[in-house]
Symmetry: C3
Subunit: 210 residues, 3 copies
C-alpha cells in the first residue's frame, strides 16, 4: 500500500531531524550528528532485528533508509531555522512514524508467531528505542522514561490492533486504525501535556528519615 | 530439577525489584520503571543470547519471565515499604539469582562447545550485565565496575564449576556447589564489605605533576 | 599475510591499553578496568558481528583476542608509567589497528555482498565503536562524536579502498593502501589538531532569543 510507504519515508525523515536537533544541543561534530540521526531513526528497528534474529539488519539491504536519514539530516543542518518553523508538520510526521513503526514491529512479531504481548513490545521497541539509544549516546536518561506519553501511545495502539484482530478484522483497515490511535494519543498528550505518574516513594521516605 | 526453577523465579523477581528501587531514585515514570525492571532482570540473559545467536531471545518464547518481572515490579511499586523491610530476604534471593544465572550462562556456553573461559564469561554476562545495562540507561557508571564483588563471585563460582567438571564430577551436585560458592562469596562480601582494589595510578601521577 | 596478523595483535593491544587508561581516570576497580579494556578492543567487532549475524561472535572462537586484551591490560596496569612514555609507539599501534580493523569490517561486508556504503560503515563500526561503547559505559558522550578525526579517517580509507577496487586493483596492495591512508590521516589529524566542525546553530539561536 503506497500510503504506508509515504508515511515510512516521512516518519524516518522526522526521526532523523529530531536526532539532529538533539545532537546539536550537545555540541557534537558533523560525524556525531549524522550518527545520532541514524541511531534515532533506525536504532529501534535495528534493536528489534537483533532481538528476533533478522540479520543482517534491515537497513543493510534496504539502502533507501540510510539515504533518507542522510538527506534529511543534512537538510536539517542546512535549513535549521526553516525546519524549526515547521514544528507542527514535523510533529505530525513524527507521530505518523511512531504509529507506522509500531505497526511494522508488531507485524514482524506476528510473522514469527510470537505472543501478542511480545509483538506489542516489539512494536514499542521499533518505535521508541531509537530515541532511547540516542539519549544513551548523548549521555542523558532516556526522555521517554521520564516525561513523555510516547511508549504508552504505542502500547495502546498495539492493544487496539490485537483487539480488532481477535474480532476477526484484518488487512489495511486495522493497520490504519492502529496508526491513527497512536497518532491521536500522541497529539492529545502533547496538546494537553499528559504524562505518566513519576513514582518516587523511595525518595520521600529517605527525606523523612533525615 | 524443581529447586532450580524456584531459584530462577525468586532470582528474577529479586533482580526486577532491585531495578524498581534503582529506577525510583532517578524519578522515572511508570513506563521507565517497568523497562528498567525488565532490563535489570532479563538484560544479562538477552545480551548473552545475542552474543551466541540464540534468537529470538529467550523471553520471547518463555513468557513467564516477562510475567514475573511485571508482577514483582508492580508489587515493589505498591508495597515499597514492606519490601524494604525484607532487605535480607531480597539479598538472599538476589544472591541465589546471581548464582543460578551464572550457571545457566555457563551451561549455554557448554552446549555450544565453547572454551571454559568463554563459558565463565557468558555466565558472568548473564548474571551481571542486566545491572550494567540498567546503570547505562540510568546514566551512571555501572556499579559493578566500581565497588561490588559481584562479577568476581560469578567468576569464582564458574572456576569452581569447571574444576569439579575436570575431576569427573557432573550433574546437579556441581550445579548446586557452583551456586553456593557464588551465594557465599556474595554474602561474605556484603557482610565484610569486601571490594576489589580501585586502581588510579594515572590520577595520582597527574596530581604530582601539578 | 603475516604482516596483517602482527598489526592485528599490535592494534588490539593498543586499543586495550587505551581502554585501561580511560578506565583508570574514572576510578574503576580491577574488574571494571578489564571489562573496559575488553570492550574498547573488541566491542566494535562484536557490534559488527551482531549486526551481520556472525554469531557466536568472533572472540568466542578466536581465543587469542581475549588473551591479547588481558595480557596487554595487565601490562598497562603494572607498567603504567613506562607505557605513558611510549606514547608515540602506542599512537602508531592505535592508528595501525584503526586501519586494519576498518579493512576487516569492510571485507566482512564484501563477503556478504553488501553495498559498498554499508561495507564502509561496517568498517567504521569495527574500528570506532569499541571506543563508543567504552565511553557509554564510562558515562560520557563518545569522544569521536565531538572532537577527533577518527571515524572520518576510516571512512576516507574505505572510500579509497573501493575506488581502487573499481579500477580493477585487488589483493594485498589495496589492503595496505587502505590501512596507510587511515594511519596517515589519523597521524596528520593528531599532529595538526584537525577536527570536524561542531555545529550548534540551535544553541546560537537560543541565546539570541534571550
Amino acid at each position: 500500500m503506497e500510503l504506508l510507504q509515504i508515511i515510512d519515508i516521512a516518519g524516518t525523515a522526522a526521526f532523523s531531524i529530531a536526532g539532529v536537533f538533539a545532537a546539536m544541543e550537545k555540541k557534537l561534530d558533523l560525524f556525531g550528528i549524522l550518527i545520532i540521526a541514524f541511531v534515532t531513526a533506525l536504532g529501534g528497528g535495528t534493536l528489534r532485528d537483533l532481538l528476533i534474529g533478522n540479520v543482517p539488519v534491515s537497513w543493510m539491504h534496504q539502502l533507501h533508509y540510510g539515504l533518507i536519514v542522510m538527506v534529511s539530516a543534512i537538510t536539517a543542518l542546512l535549513f535549521t531555522n526553516l525546519l524549526k518553523n515547521l514544528h507542527n508538520i514535523l510533529l505530525l510526521f513524527d507521530s505518523l512514524g511512531l504509529g507506522l513503526f509500531t505497526l511494522v514491529g508488531i507485524q514482524k512479531g506476528i510473522d514469527l508467531q510470537l505472543h501478542s504481548g511480545i509483538c506489542i513490545l516489539l512494536g514499542t521497541i521499533t518505535a521508541c528505542f531509537g530515541g532511547v539509544l540516542r539519549d544513551v549516546l548523548l549521555n542523558q536518561i532516556p526522555l521517554i522514561f521520564q516525561k513523555e506519553i510516547y511508549a504508552t501511545a504505542c502500547i495502546g495502539g498495539g492493544m487496539v490492533y490485537f483487539l480488532l484482530l481477535y474480532t476477526g478484522a484484518q488487512g489495511w483497515p486495522i493497520d490504519i486504525i492502529c496508526i491513527l490511535v497512536i497518532v491521536l494519543s500522541r497529539f492529545l498528550a502533547v496538546k494537553y501535556n499528559w504524562s505518566l505518574p513519576v513514582i518516587n516513594k523511595l525518595k520521600n521516605e529517605r527525606n523523612e528519615d533525615n
